[in-house]
Amino acid sequence: MSDDGIRLLGPDGKRVAHPTYSGDADPGELRALYRDMALARRLDTEGVTLQRQGELALWPSLLGQEAAQVGSVRALREGDRVFPSYREHAVALARGVDPLALFRLFRGVDHGAWDPDAHDVHLYTLVIGSQTLHATGYAHGLTKDGSDAAVIAYFGDGATSQGDVAEAFNFAAVYDAPIVFFCQNNQFAISEPNERQTRVPLHQRAQGFGFPGVRVDGNDVLAVRAVTRAALEHVRSGAGPFLIEAYTYRMGAHTTSDDPTRYRDAAEVERWRAKDPLLRLDRLLRAEHAADDAFFAEVEAEGEALAARIREGVRGMPAPRAEELFDHVYAEENSLVERERAEFAAYQAAFEEV
């Protein structure tokens, strides 16, 4: 096993044998994985561009993490629930969340208000680690319901330092909850490298809570899918939670506000560029004749169409109405909110008269 974890597909696009996990996939599946990753990457590029153009307040790029996200999300069954952090654009896209919903969040039009039930994808969560507890509670609810669905909770390497994540690990372990904790170790929490977050590889964290953890090459979509599938099987069986550390790299800035040249080498970035997740699958597809030029051209065209739809959608997004300030504070009527709504309306009315 390389330091990058369990691997089934090398950076050179060659398959790697593994005693436990198999990268079996028919050509159609391989192409589908490629397409997911390529579209996500195209969406991501568009996010960065739109932010540069002033159309978005912020964009957190997933560049480099496509395999970790696509491999894991494609291991899920329908009905399994996803709790993302805030960088899981490939996950959201693969699951069918309207990509414009992501852009509404980063444009500042809403807080990312898609319907979590529509595609079993919970809202993005910005308070690091919080969602792991929601995911654990949800998973415990699945057990109560006698459901055989499972939960996957996404979080970063930095998040593992948060007390909430430790509590989630422990509650899930004590409750034997059907949850896969999926840590995308992209080597950085903004500027801080792994050494500032942990003394030992992150997948080991699970041991102390009494459940298994493994590291997988997060840039190898076949390995990620195989390991996540096995983990899901494990948690579904009632054996309790499972931790996956997907070893990957954040190729871009933390967000468009960040300047990574302040804290990391170009050489390191280059080393990781050689392990690009999309390029690997491209090589495999070509080597195994699983895809032809027409396929790649088709995916590219689809990506461009997606980007165009996003561009247009973003530019055309209506600004929210001011009254929305008061619309959803509570589910039930609330006298405090209604009074402020009335005051606001009166103020606006007076203002318009002037």
Partner: protein
């Protein structure tokens, strides 16, 4: 009318029992709520009757308790969480403030989190540090939470029913030093909605506004003022701290012209400030004296041998009443 006389603790227990029986989605969760029945026995017998799947002894971690309750609510459950004592809610504060309070607004109303967080609160029971606090202002300032506190067994029963049935998260403050006070509870006759205040003693000379444990103190003060000085003090039990039923308070103040607010929490940035500011704005020309506030000092809750000095007791309430009347 089939009222029964019971303690406030028994009323809460009965209310939880009703909720568990009525709706299989209701859960009770917290530290020691199961086998032990809670350190105050509010959940006594519930695990025996409804099982470990409905009444859950959780690991000792408040953030985890509230965080997993949110997850269960996302899955369609209605968790009623117990925080063992007021001073131990703070590890859960992040989950309450950044997640529980905001999910409905963040999702533009798509996600509802019907979670109740029960907190035995307040002093006067001779307890050690962290066991006597009144942190309600720290929740009332946060949009998305409802905050309430019953003062009688009947309200304890009914307001908890309403809290559990509410689709909004509720922070439910239980006046622990009134846990063993008794009162009539009619479980067939719904009480007034929890967000409304109630005039619990009418009077024309001055309004005393309170909630939770200090309502009884105010009633006692009204008694004494009537007996000793022939003063008619009106006592308003706010019941809800967020939102506040200002209409009821203003209505009372328009009649009396004077208002004293009494709570155990520190006065500085406390509920009394909000009430004074708001009512003064609305009743500016009607007030004959400034709104006075009686409450805890800006000091950590003291060792129990000092709590009588710290708490707003009868004498301090009467002193404020006198000062307001002297204006």
């Amino acid at each position: 009318m089939t009222a029964t006389r019971m303690t406030l603790v028994a009323a809460l227990n009965a209310s939880l029992r009703t909720a568990l029986a009525d709706d299989p989605k209701t859960l009770v969760m917290g530290e020691d709520v199961g086998r032990l029945g809670g350190v105050f026995r509010v959940t006594d017998g519930l695990q025996k009757d409804f099982g470990e799947g409905r009444v859950i002894d959780t690991p000792l971690a408040e953030s985890g308790i509230v965080g997993t309750a949110i997850g269960l609510a996302l899955r369609g459950y209605r968790p009623v969480v117990e925080i063992q004592f007021d001073g131990f809610v703070f590890p859960a504060y992040d989950q309450i403030v950044t997640q529980l309070a905001k999910m409905h607004a963040r999702s533009r109303g798509l996600v509802r989190l019907p979670v109740v967080v029960r907190i035995p609160y307040g002093g006067g029971i001779g307890a050690v540090e962290h066991h006597s606090e009144s942190p309600e202002a720290l929740f009332a300032h946060v949009a998305g939470l409802r905050v309430m506190s019953p003062s009688t067994p009947s309200d304890a029963y009914w307001m908890l029913q309403q809290a559990i049935r509410s689709d909004d998260p509720v922070i439910f403050f239980e006046p622990k030093r009134r846990y063993y006070d008794k009162g009539e509870v009619d479980t067939t006759q719904p009480a007034a909605p929890a967000h409304t205040a109630r005039v619990v003693r009418p009077g024309a000379d001055l309004t005393l506004a309170a909630y939770g444990p200090t309502v009884a103190t105010c009633l006692q003060a009204a008694e004494v003022a009537a007996a000793e000085d022939g003063r008619a003090l009106e006592v308003v039990d706010l019941r809800s701290i967020s939102p506040i039923d200002f209409a009821a308070v203003e209505e009372s103040v328009r009649r009396t012209g004077r208002l004293v607010v009494v709570h155990e929490a520190p006065v500085f940035f406390g509920a009394g400030a909000e009430i004074a500011a708001h009512v003064t704005e609305r009743c500016f020309y009607r007030l004959e004296a400034p709104v006075l506030r009686v409450g805890g000092y800006h000091s950590p809750y003291p060792p129990s041998r000092l709590e009588d000095e710290y708490l707003p007791g009868l004498d301090r309430v009467l002193d404020a009443v006198e000062r307001a009347l002297a204006h």
